[in-house]
Amino acid sequence: MTTRSPGGPPPIEVRGVRKVFRQTTTGQSVVAIDRLDLTIAPREVVAIVGQTGCGKSTFFDLMIGLEAPSEGTLRIGDKSPHADFDYFRGKIATVFQQDRLLPWRSALDNAKLPLELIGLSEEEQRERALTWLNRLGLGAFINAYPHELSGGMRQRVAIARAFSVQPDIMLADEAFGHLDEVTAQELRDTFLALARESGSTAILITHQLEEAIGVGDRIIVFGKSAKLLADIHVAQWDKSQYGLLREAIQATLQSNSPDPRLAQS
């Protein structure tokens, strides 16, 4: 049994989405996302960059279905991740900034968690979780508890947990930001290779522009309230221009308006 959609991952369509939070303490309204329009094609690998507090994680919460848009529609295929919450069980998986493993579960049992939720047989759960842990080089640590593993290894378990359901859509919210550079690089490469190989649509939030340029088919630059400042198709840029691209994105983020040098894509 698999939760993978038969025709591959469906496209993601965001139309005029607004998300307003009312802060319980101050009673003030915060516009986290203001009229976002965006389409993400199946199997695309997209990097999202934007300054802190610009609504990136909120965008993920909408896509995961934990929040509903205040206005507009967000559809994955012909369904809404919020309204059709149960339908998307096993179809969307997220790797978070901290590993967020359950401390009372071994690596194996942590990787099994989403498989338990979709109701696979005990045998299948074990087999699939083992496969993914092995792929992430954790074969020798399946019985270790999180506190017995290094930060990098814990994040590997979290990645195995996310991939174990073979989701249509794989999300990563600053998943490598807290690791040292070498480990981060290694894990990012593994993550991307696995995402491409398994045919998922992958969306990564990152603060590192190098990371964004290195990973994405596409880089989306959010301004304040997730205003779409730039939508860059990396393939249109030559490798020799990456330095320029990086500077242009930097300038865009700093001025909160699209840099003219990005006009080519």
Partner: protein, 257 residues
Amino acid sequence: MSHKELGEPVASLGFPRHTLVSLLIFAAAWEVLSNLAPFLGIPPFAVPSLVRIAKAIGTITPLDVVVTLARVIAALIVSFIAGLALAMAMYRSDPLDKYLSPIIRVFVAVPVVSWILFAVLWFPGVEFRIGFVLVVVCGPVFLIDTLDAMRSVPRELRHMMRSFRPTTLQFFIKLMMPAIIPTIFTSWKVNISLAIRVVTIAELVGAVTGIGAQLSNAQQLFSVADVFAWTIVLVALLFLLEAIVSRVEHRLLRWRA
């Protein structure tokens, strides 16, 4: 178990040496006081000798111990289930939480003696009275502890769990329950000692069996040796129950460093 981890010297019976030594010194002092009582103007029955206490322990009737134990365990189980169920409901529902919280705070503030008097005034059955008092005293403790523990499950873990779309039942079984198990154990230990102390007072009123009833008999006969004997049994019972809970706890919480 903990004394082993602390590296304290361990004597026979699994007791740390310090415990044995302090108990022995206390017993010796007691014996001396008991022998000196006539010269100090203390009535002889007030400080019975160790031999008399030992004899009194020999006359302990197991049935009363079993009855008290059964009352305590049954009441704790009912309190635990009720407390946990209410805590889960209050965790899920804000209005329920807002309306029930004040009442629970009032419950906790009411003295045990008042509960016992209410029980006597309201209910005819002795068993029901005792059960009522125990549940009304222990239930809120379970409720408050577990609700508190559920609220302190890290936001990040709840968010992660929800991102994998569990049903409500799965959310509780796979995240909330395991997360609050350490608290549940602590709560059980607190409640066991609470229940043991409360049950004897409750049994003083109207019960014909149980340790409380026997204590009341001993008091009416001015038999300090018997009061001592029953008290020692109670304390031993408490230690035994706590040891059992600690054992299970140690087993289940092996994932902790």
